[in-house]
Amino acid sequence: MAPKLLSGKRQKEVENHGGDTDRISSLPDSLLCHILSFLPTKTSVATTSLVSRRWRHLWQHLQVFYFAHDSDESGQGSKMFEKFAFFVNAVLAFRKSRDIRKFELSCDIAWSNHRCDCADMWTRAAINPYLEELSLNIRDYTGEINLLLPRSLLNCTNLVSLSLVGQIKMNVGHFGVYFPSLKWLKLQAEIVDSEIVLLSGCPVLETLQHNFFVPVTWAEDPLPPSQRLKFTDGSFSWTFLEVDSFGKQTLGIIGNLQSMVDACIDFFPSQISESVDPILTRIQGSYNELDIQLRHLTSKVKLYYYGKLH
């Protein structure tokens, strides 16, 4: 460690406590919790709670939770999931702070005896007016079940970041959506019944990561003849791209270009993006500030490809 210049005050502190490290201990609980909130929740609970008496209950004040359960191939899937579920339930039950600011859940619900029930329950626990970031990655290797997100999610007006991946369904079509703070959205295809309704309820969206592989959702929506839809908010508009190779089908979303700084669109398979590239280049030309990345994720086709194309 490089030698340090210490002020008189600091020098005294070092002498008194035998090291700078104690200055960390003298921090308020809220700051220690801040550090813990960057750790996987199981580390905060199982490791740092054993550090000292003071650290024993720190995790109970966490407002940020990361729960991840990787399915394994050992044939113990169901048993392991039970333990994981037990852990998540225990943490959510024993926490002292009722307000969750950030919640990440990643698991394969096929292993759960009750399938969607626990994922649904945990999501409901996370939903509260203070929720700022929600990331759900729900897998089901059987491909049979979907987690239907509760409508109460639509009341999370402080949501800044939302990531929905996997076997999730969210109905927004008939409810009206308004996420006035949402800046970052990652959305896998076919999760939301109407992307248009969802996106039009996100007036300050800055980053959109959307991947879709079947343009059917879009094609089925009756669209006005104009390629641009203006919504009531004057600063907000959606552009629909027409791609000739699909006949008259409308494909794609590039929207809210005025405030968007980054749009990330994944197309499957690659031949789709080849036909879209020139259009994106044109958009990029007229919106210099916008960083559009087009990603060719052909490797994912196997995983997500539903066989509706070609």
Binding site: M1, A2, K4, L5, L6, S7, K9, R10, G19, D20, T21, D22, R23, I24, S25, L27, L31, H34, I35, L36, S37, F38, L39, P40, K42, T43, V45, A46, T47, T48, S49, L50, V51, S52, R53, R54, W55, R56, K79, M80, K83, F84, F86, F87, A90
Partner: protein, 176 residues
């Protein structure tokens, strides 16, 4: 007090001065080294900015007794990058590579004191990364925390956690 410090400014200043700007802010480290920064940098440091605001901008020399001249340049560097919108993963990786554990903790305290949210979050992440998947003993050493559990208590707690969270975390403990 302000005049006293500013009179030391010329002799002690080690950062580049901008002759055209009279509004430069002088940050005085705990060991009395003066760092001259642009007002935009000060804006990143909420503690400094609120000090300036409270005095209607009349006072431009800010003593920072809790921050050493060793740490302050790192803080300023980060703020400069932040203003320029150049906080990238690459920059952060390079930035943190230069820092040992003690320095990370010092900077964390500095970021907290100066109320720079981005830097505080970044350093929290760095600290979290450095203690993730480590043993309880390692975490204690890292933070310099004395174990105030009796051996019996600790054994009991470990047993309790093992029961409550079986299968969730035993591997980490065994590995380390």
């Amino acid at each position: 007090m302000a005049e006293e410090v500013s009179s030391q400014m010329n002799s002690l200043s080690i950062s580049e001065t901008n002759p055209s700007s009279s509004a430069t802010i002088s940050l005085v480290s705990g060991d009395d080294i003066v760092f001259k920064v642009e007002p935009t940098i000060a804006k990143e440091m909420e503690t400094v900015q609120s000090f300036i605001d409270e005095t209607d901008g009349k006072i431009t020399t800010i003593p920072l007794p809790n921050i050493s001249s060793h740490d302050l340049p790192y803080v300023i560097e980060y703020c400069e990058k932040s203003i320029a919108g150049k906080i990238t993963k690459e920059f952060e990786a390079e930035f943190v590579k230069k820092l040992n554990n003690e320095e990370v903790k010092e900077l964390f305290l500095a970021a907290n004191y100066l109320n720079i949210k981005k830097l505080l979050d970044f350093l929290s992440q760095v600290i979290a990364d450095r203690i993730a998947n480590k043993s309880v003993e390692y975490v204690r050493r890292y933070f310099g925390i004395e174990n105030d559990f009796t051996p019996e208590e600790e054994a009991k707690l470990r047993e309790e956690l093992a029961w409550t969270f079986t299968g969730v975390d035993p591997d980490d403990e065994d590995e380390n």
